[in-house]
Amino acid sequence: MRSNLFVILFALFALQGCATQPLRGTGDLGVVVERDSGKLQIVDTTARTILGEISGLGDLSHATVVFSRDQRYAYVFGRDGGLTKVDILRRRIVKRVLQSGNSIGGAISQDGRLIAAANYTPGGVKFFRSDTLAQVADIPAIGADGKRSKVVGLVSAPGDRFVFSLYNAGEIWTADMKAPAHPVIHKFTGVGKEPYDGIITPDGRYYLAGLFGEDGMALLDLWHLPNGVKRILNGYGKGSRRLPVYKMPHLEGWGFYKHYAFVPAVGHHEVLVIDTDTWRQAGVIPTYGQPVFVVGQPYSRHIWVDFAFPDNGAIQVIDAPTRRVIRTLKPGKGVLFLEFTPRGENVWVSARDSNKLVVYDTATFRRVTELPSHKPSGIFFTPRAYKLGW
């Protein structure tokens, strides 16, 4: 009898040991895409460590990630059309669907209920319930030319809307998804040649698409849809030769300072300054290479820039008020991505060809730590859950 009690007690302790994980939040966690091995690293931005790894996510070249509004789940969009829901706390895949043949990214709705995936093949946007990943809607991107187009620059917008661009057709569409079974779509045709990415301004009012096929951008005022799409920055590169572009710039996470936006110039070693009151060019900042990401450091006057091949071994820091480059840092080879901690005291940088992540103190520009990572590309921290657009 007595020995039985010991056995039971022992079994109870053993069980508890297995089941109990220390309680913790997810607000200081994030994921890093290891694109060649189809893995995600789970990282802790407080301890600045790698907590673990999740594998089996398929082709993660150009993968992007959005977060559930409780910051527990990451939705990973892979190149192979895979959409994977990952539990960051338990570090495992909850659900995975192959939703297309070739995907470029996605977004989560304002209310967090819908996941939208932008696809190249077949060109269009598909919508899924964020809890079950059951598909609820499919919008094929058939342009005015009657052909299917690759979709780029998908963002979530206020009012459970999504906005995206048709790369081949040169169009911008908005989809109101309040009733997912009956999307209300507005199409804007002839916006310019080869929109390559899009962004929504932090006030949720404007959608901008960068144009690769011509110098300029397409601007849509989401408060006044009937006004249509306006062309801005026409011919900004005029007079200077456009260089070959070895990596498409991104528009996500522009730098903003006062009413100025800082954006990558296509085919030039420059960051453009745009006055968002007039949507005219207000300045040009010469940089080390062709910018890919131009990202504002939270609660700071600084804007950080990384560059396209072959200048992808450096990042630069721009002082927004004086519009001058104040620092050039060399984190490693093949720098792909920058992600700030939510209040901006650190920035994490992925150096793909050096197989590492470099964490900087943004006040001193000193390296705080380096962490091993196999061919890292995107770095995504959970506070993205509260930013509209992604």
Partner: protein
């Protein structure tokens, strides 16, 4: 007979024009770059070309570069596309970063199934 090392693009072009056709496409003499350089080229294709064509080369904003997708295409024009880019598309010229012979080797390997990084 070991393959002769071709050093100039002109020679490769001249040879390809004169050699008999194999499988309906002009033949080229392909030399494999030394191992260290080969590794650099493999990385460049998978990572940098991969940013538009996908690191598995299954396509993205740019078209797929798998053996299936390239089947029946002219290797010389593929090589020229790599070296000089393609006007009115985002494809840039890669000739600042590789030689003619290296581009020919890349095309040859793409058409057979491109190797993975070591």
């Amino acid at each position: 007979m070991p393959p002769k090392k071709i050093t100039t693009g002109l020679m490769v072009l001249m040879l390809s024009a004169t050699l008999p056709l194999a499988h309906g496409a002009p033949a080229q003499i392909i030399t494999s770059p030394p191992p260290a350089r080969r590794a650099v080229l493999i990385d460049m294709v998978r990572e940098d070309c991969g940013s538009c064509h996908g690191s598995r080369l299954t396509g993205g904003l740019g078209p797929a570069l798998t053996p299936q997708a390239l089947k029946g295409k002219n290797p010389i024009s593929l090589k020229d596309t790599i070296l000089f880019g393609r006007p009115n598309t985002p494809m840039p010229p890669w000739n600042p970063f590789m030689s003619n012979a290296e581009a020919a080797w890349i095309v040859n390997r793409l058409m057979k199934g491109f190797p993975h990084a070591q």
